[in-house]
């Protein structure tokens, strides 16, 4: 490590003002703080600080996403070989998934971090860590067959227009990863839904690939429910395990629950939000189920199935709990979460245009989160005013 430290010290002058590479100052700074915890000590105020910082917080979320990522890779391979009717081993499936997903991960990080680096340099600020999480979320929620250039365009759009123009990490109103997906969803609807989007059929870097077997349908369970309910056969257990078509990260309830437990145990995510999203989903699911009608086939699903299918659980655990775009007061978090759950199922069941509503529900509530907080804080203000008058 000493030699690395020496090397970093040696090249440092080039990146400082007046140096040859002064334009890359933020990049150097980002690298340096990435490699070595800064030796800065407190100047004013408290003399000791908790070891937890933004880097650790974000990396913890990334770790919580790893089970989903690994399962996504496996499932991508599983679906692929199932579709072309070849018996493949676990490792073959995983390798295929890895090769299929790697380009998406690379594109997401290169585009997103690239823009962050440029933004940081323009504003002469330190590079913020927010995109570490967004960058891994994007490959998990974008359908696997989305062309890479679309992912790149959508990521760039989201980072610039949903984040940087608001002031960067911590200032955005809408969840950046979901804006990426929403952009894709509305800009390229034909590529983003239907039977072709969710199962990769062609080869990945020349690996895999083959002809589709008869009777193959790449539709997600919710897509099937919406279009072909009579032949719907996926059980809730299948959805719980997750070997079904869908956006890469969202299929396995097991992987999501492992991630959820990491987030809750470390205290990074708010259990209030998570719990109330599920409560809201259950409540709305139960209501819809009690009024089940073939006009709205999704209402035939029982409430528990509603939670396991589609992106609901993934959104509840990883999207709704984004503290920046969510409600920040405790009471607000209950309301915010509950309404996300309700809206997700409401859209899913009663809006024929969208077989899945989790993304739109979270984005909608992102817009309302400040209002919810405003009301909660206003109650505190009123209490204070009342107290002052009562004396």
């Amino acid at each position: 490590m000493k030699s690395l430290r020496k090397f970093m010290d040696k090249i440092k002058p080039h990146f400082q003002e007046g140096g040859k590479l002064a334009k890359l100052e933020s990049v150097y700074d980002g690298m340096e703080t990435f490699l070595f915890t800064p030796n800065t000590t407190s100047r004013s105020g408290v003399h000791i600080h908790d070891s937890n910082d933004m880097k650790r917080t974000m990396i913890t979320v990334v770790v919580a996403l790893l089970p989903c990522l690994l399962f996504a890779m496996y499932n991508t391979g599983f679906q692929h070989f199932k579709a072309i009717g070849i018996d493949a081993s676990f490792w073959q499936m995983f390798l295929f998934g890895l090769l299929a997903m790697l380009p998406v991960i690379v594109v997401s990080y290169v585009v997103g971090l690239g823009i962050e680096f440029i933004g940081a340099q323009i504003h002469h600020k330190e590079i913020q860590e927010g995109f570490l999480v967004t960058g891994i979320l994007i490959p998990l929620i974008v359908p696997i067959n989305t062309p890479l250039w679309m992912t790149a365009v959508a990521t760039a759009f989201a980072v610039i227009f949903a984040k940087e123009i608001f002031g960067g990490t911590g200032m955005n109103i809408f969840n950046v990863a979901l804006i990426t997906r929403a952009f894709l969803f509305f800009a390229y609807p034909s590529e983003m839904s239907g039977d072709k989007a969710f199962v990769k059929l062609d080869s990945a870097f020349g690996y895999g690939g083959g002809n589709v077997v008869d009777g193959f349908s790449g539709a997600t369970p919710l897509g099937e429910v919406a279009t072909n309910f009579d032949n719907f056969s996926t059980s809730t257990m299948d959805a719980f395990i997750g070997l079904i078509p869908g956006s890469p990260g969202e299929t396995s309830m097991i992987a999501i629950l492992i991630g959820a437990s990491i987030l809750l145990f470390t205290g990074i995510a708010s259990w209030r939000v998570m719990l109330s999203v599920f409560a809201g989903g259950l409540a709305m699911g139960a209501l819809a189920h009690s009024l089940a009608t073939p006009t709205y086939p999704a209402s035939m699903l029982d409430p528990l199935a509603q939670l396991c299918f589609g992106g609901f659980a993934f959104a509840a655990v990883f999207m709704a709990t984004d503290p920046v775009t969510g409600a920040r007061t405790k009471i607000g978090q209950y309301i915010y979460g509950f309404l996300i759950g309700v809206f997700a199922i409401l859209i899913r069941v009663y809006n024929g245009g969208y077989p899945e509503g989790a993304m739109l529900a979270v984005l909608l509530m992102n817009a309302f989160a400040p209002l919810i907080d405003y009301c909660v804080v206003q109650a505190n203000i009123n209490r204070r005013l009342k107290r002052a008058k009562a004396k």
Partner: protein
């Protein structure tokens, strides 16, 4: 007597706690000093010039805006120096003691308020709003005295008080004449002072339960237009002693704590004592640079061995500046030595209340506020801390007022500042907010 349970906050268990019971002999220093910055709200105008003689309890300077508020010398001796900083701001007033032991004798039959002002003990009290030395024209609604210091490694005030506890009834009697409301006394569970006429509340819970302001917020919060005073039992006992004996006694017991002190201990000393004499031979001898803090690790002031014991504190903490330099990829560390109150590091396996040796490192860069509820869980008041901080940063006077800026002092945010993932300087933000607010309102 009421029992008030506070849930929010945190008790940090730092290395360097005092193990022995006995108090070391009095340290006599060659110089003593008063640091004007400790008396927030007072702009000093000197009454004594260098070379002049001053008696213990005699004024060194008064407030430029209100001559009646005086800050007095802790010892009898000669004014050695008036240290000035940028733009001739007075940084310290240094006094060389002549060890005569003669303090100024006050007439205890005088008007209590005049006597408090004249003796300099007035300047040891704080008022809310603004966390400043009380202004003379306003009568406080209530007075809150705290009987314990809950900060990390803080001395037991019972120990510091010692025999002087007997002056507390007199102090409460005197303070009662200053307010139309009540004098409240906040006690910890294991130390109840019940022979005064103050209204006693027992506080159970982690730091900052011992902050008088936190106690006030949980007994009777400060509303707009109201003023309360806050002080601790040490200042209260000094007030009692003044009215019984006619003399101001600035002698005290100081706790020397922290991982940088070889043998943490209590020492007898006098307010303003030079740190060189206090710490002589007591520091751990190793090659790591030390950070000497006058006060506790949360609210104390960074000092050097050339510094002095600051007036509001009976506490010195010494920690390492940096325990481990150039830590490689610290954010990925699995080491249980990385202490966090969150379970993001493996240190939670050892227990969050295990004794830890923390250094002065920031452990990260300053960021926008991301995680929610971080400040609220450290502040046992009915205040939305994060929203208040944001209102202060944007200097929205109406919002600050509505969100309760009158109820808070920087010290209340110290623990939140420790825990803050975004590494914001909350105490500085609150201090500046209070100052700007005061400039705007007065």
């Amino acid at each position: 007597m009421a029992l008030i349970k506070l849930k929010k906050g945190f008790d940090l268990n730092l290395k360097g706690q005092i193990k022995q019971e006995n108090v070391a002999d009095e340290v006599t220093a060659t110089t003593y000093a008063i640091i004007p910055d400790d008396f927030t709200g007072i702009i000093p105008r000197m009454e004594k010039k260098p070379g002049q003689h001053v008696a213990a309890g005699e004024a060194l300077y008064h407030d430029k805006n209100d001559e009646k508020i005086k800050v007095t010398s802790p010892v009898s001796g000669t004014v050695e120096d008036v240290v000035r900083g940028e733009r001739r701001k007075i940084m310290a007033v240094v006094v060389t003691p002549d060890n005569t032991g003669d303090g100024k004798l006050f007439d205890t039959r005088a008007n209590p308020k005049e006597l408090l002002l004249e003796s300099g003990l007035w300047a040891m009290i704080r008022q809310r709003p603004y966390d400043i030395v009380p202004t003379t024209e306003v009568r406080p609604r209530d007075i809150f005295i705290t009987a314990f210091d809950s900060a990390p490694l803080a001395p037991s005030l019972k120990k510091v008080l010692g025999d002087d506890e007997k002056y507390l009834p007199k102090a409460v009697e005197v303070l009662s004449t200053m307010t139309d409301g009540k004098v409240y006394l906040g006690c910890p569970k294991d130390y109840t002072i019940d022979d005064t006429r103050a209204e006693v509340n027992t506080f159970v819970g982690p730091h900052p339960a011992g902050n008088a302001g936190v106690q006030a917020a949980n007994v009777k919060p400060v509303n707009k237009g109201e003023v309360v005073w806050t002080l601790d039992v040490i200042t209260a006992a000094r007030i009692g002693k003044l009215f019984e004996t006619g003399k101001v006694d600035y002698s005290t017991v100081v706790a020397l704590t922290g991982s940088g002190i070889a043998e943490p201990t209590y020492v007898k000393a006098t307010m303003g004592c030079s740190l060189k004499s206090l710490l002589d031979g007591r520091l751990v001898e190793d090659d790591k640079p030390k950070r000497i803090i006058a006060g506790n690790v949360l609210t104390g002031v960074k000092e050097t061995t050339e510094g002095y014991l600051h007036a509001p504190y009976r506490h010195i903490t010494v920690i390492n500046e940096i325990n481990k330099k150039d830590e490689f990829m610290g954010w990925a560390s699995l080491s249980p030595k990385k202490y966090s109150i969150y379970r993001v590091f493996t240190s939670w396996l050892m227990g969050r209340h295990k004794e830890v040796d923390l250094d002065a490192k920031l452990n990260g860069g300053e960021r926008a506020i991301v995680l929610s509820g971080e400040y609220d869980r450290m502040l046992p008041m009915d205040i939305y801390a994060e929203f208040l901080i944001k209102a202060i940063i944007s200097f929205d006077i109406d919002k600050m007022e509505q969100l309760g800026i009158y109820e808070v002092a920087p010290e209340d945010f110290a623990l939140a500042e420790f825990a803050d993932t975004s590494k914001l300087e909350l105490q500085r933000i609150v201090r500046e907010g209070l100052d700007k607010m005061r400039a705007e309102m007065c």
